[in-house]
Symmetry: C2
């Protein structure tokens, strides 16, 4: 189907999907979860075609691994759908309710966003994941996946649509744009008359391209140049374990720490042991002069290092004289995702929590907790790094808007 036809069909389905009751949605999610497992052979076959193309093209082994689907991964996808079915339906909650002196009764009620476009890269499990979250929150989704995963995405979408149909639900609750050329992607971003919100998921380059080209309101997700500030009163044991966890537990994700800020009072005492531990984990440490002169494992940092989201075995180090200087450094270089202070000083903690302008600000905990599951949302569509609409991990509630329902008995404005 051509792009505009897909968008029109999605819009035509939106009020039907918005009106589905919770039981019906959960029934469909469970049914589709079972279908995915039952059809895993077909999915793996389609995926094999993508893997062959990727191998021929010389794609790197880790990238091929991200692309690969097997029985286990399909079972995990299926489990994901069942988990979303268990989550409470975010729709129709009354968020506020009040009465005006003229007798008008106002209710602010949660409603879906409408048609959500999701533009993403190679991992095909996003297909099922994005469907589950948008569908449960009463939205219609149009997916634009990467060309590398086109056969896998197409197989998964086909099974989801079949499952919807078998439940008597409009299958246009999900559609996949099959053309994967750049031109189609840019055209998709202009489809303002049909699509209410665009959510890009993937590399910094993808997100930048969507932000630059979209005429549709965007929720910007992703990039995380996350900082950890080791204050002068930091507990050295907590500091070391948090830094090691935040930097090395998973390298390629947005809530990984990329920069260490160290109070000058402890750069010669607490920092060297942390530097050694990072070095033992094969992390290259790029620091300023104070850091360099405090540990043999530090190499010189350039100004650019402080703005980088490495997603690699690299970390930058900056030495500061105060919590205020740490806050200013973070607010200058951060992508406003997640930052932590390690301190035993309540006043410094309070300053940091107030002063740092990021979606998630931690005291004595790893930045790796910025995640919808870790926050207890039960699901996650991404981490917003913008100020509008939602900030930080986005679960089902963040995929909704609201409307005002107002009841009167003939009131007119004077």
């Amino acid at each position: 189907m051509e792009l505009e036809a897909i968008c029109k069909a999605a819009k035509a389905a939106k009020y039907e999907i918005a009106a589905l009751n919770t039981d019906k949605k959960n029934e469909a999610l469970n049914k589709i979860a079972d279908l995915l497992v039952a059809e895993s052979e077909a999915i793996i076959l389609a995926n094999a075609r993508d893997i062959t193309t990727a191998t021929t093209k010389g794609m790197s082994i880790p990238m091929i691994d991200r692309l690969r689907l097997n029985e286990d991964r399909i079972r995990a996808m299926s489990e994901g759908l069942k988990q979303v079915a268990e989550l409470p339906d975010p729709l129709n909650d009354v968020l506020e309710e009040w009465e005006r002196p003229n007798g008008l009764k106002l209710k602010k009620v949660r409603v879906p966003l409408g048609v959500i476009g999701i533009i993403y890269e190679s991992r095909p499990n996003v297909t099922a994941d994005a469907f589950a979250l948008t569908f449960k929150s009463g939205n219609v989704v149009i997916l634009k996946g990467g060309s590398d995963a086109i056969n896998s995405n197409s197989a998964i979408t086909g099974i989801i649509r079949r499952g919807l149909k078998e439940c008597g639900i409009n299958e246009n609750a999900i559609s996949l744009i099959e053309s994967t050329d750049r031109e189609t992607t840019v055209q998709f971003m202009q489809m303002r008359d049909y699509v209410d919100v665009l959510i890009p998921r993937g590399s910094a380059g993808l997100i930048r391209s969507v932000v630059e080209n979209s005429k549709i309101p965007v929720i910007e997700t992703g990039a995380g140049n996350c900082h950890i500030f080791i204050d002068k009163t930091a507990d050295p044991i907590k500091a070391k374990s948090i830094v090691i966890n935040a930097k090395t537990q998973r390298l390629g994700v947005c809530n990984t720490a990329e920069s260490l800020i160290v109070h000058e009072d402890i750069v010669k005492t607490v920092f060297p042991d942390i530097a050694r531990a990072l070095h033992d984990k094969s992390v290259e440490i790029r620091g300023d002069e104070d850091a360099l002169s405090s540990s043999e494992f530090v190499v010189p940092a350039s100004e650019e290092d402080y703005s980088k989201e490495y997603l690699d075995l690299l970390i930058s180090v900056k030495t500061v004289k105060s919590v205020e200087e740490a806050i200013a450094h973070i607010n200058k270089y951060s992508t406003h995702h997640s930052e932590a202070i390690i301190t035993e000083d309540e006043e410094a903690a309070e300053k940091f929590l107030k002063g740092v302008d990021s979606a998630c600000v931690y005291v004595n905990a790893s930045t790796r907790f910025t995640d919808g599951f870790e926050f207890g949302f039960g699901a996650e569509i991404g981490i917003s790094t913008q100020m509008l609409h939602a900030r930080g991990p986005m679960g089902l509630k963040e995929l909704t808007s609201y409307k005002y329902q107002i009841r009167g008995n003939g009131q007119v404005r004077g």
Copy 2:
């Protein structure tokens, strides 16, 4: 000052303004309110230059009236500032608070959006108004007003900056872009590195241009093709007074009714009297065949009439067979601003409230109530017609975002 320098200075002020305490902000608002009255002669003089230019250019009398400032209007502006000082500070509210099984304590806290750009047209009172709301909510504002009001806007901004300075507050909490050419406006919309949110206020053309050109996240405001549906059980007295109020109480505003939907069962009984009342108020009625054959005051409507925001002595009429058909008509043609049903049938009311996809949906009340003051917000920066962030009237709370503050005692992710 050139555009980029203005944007940089605004960004440099943002954390200072975000951190101001409530008393300090209120002191400044009250002081500036007094200064505006004390300096009214200078403002009126600057305004006279704008009026002279407008007259020379042949601007229409109603437009010149919108542009004009006199003692009364300056006093009203000043009163507006004092009223905003009286409103509760929206910042630092704890929106949610919970603890995770691993002992992490999470707080969701309200924070400012940051730097807000406001692009508006000829009414110079918006200058003081927009400052009051953005400043009270802890934001920095950059104003881009229309060329017609440049001298007035410049005088008002100058007085506000002087007042801020006298209170010891960074005067870059407000700035005005003095170049009024289109090129500068388009450049302003690209200033993503400095400006967090853009809010256009003005004509449909202005808003469209911002939505099309902006790389900064936009809150779309304004356009209202508002509908009133007279159901078959409507109380004829309520129906008539609500229709007359919604259509004629003020013509040029976004919450004015532009289209009437009439249930076919009452088109020959209830509608003719309403048509006569509209005619008596000089409203031209453009209707479909059923409407035409029911009242001598109806002329034929074209398909285009149903999509129009007339802002004039015009209304369209569509006859339907059911509440479902009314809902479908609205969801097709509406700008999703405000719609009303007039009915004595609770079931029809409920269907309408649920099914109509607009920011404000009314039962037995005039659409004219869609307004921050009428909702009890105490202020209003505009009416959002988009799904993201805020929907409907936006007061101080809608000019904020949030962040998560998370306290641990050494937690790392497993």
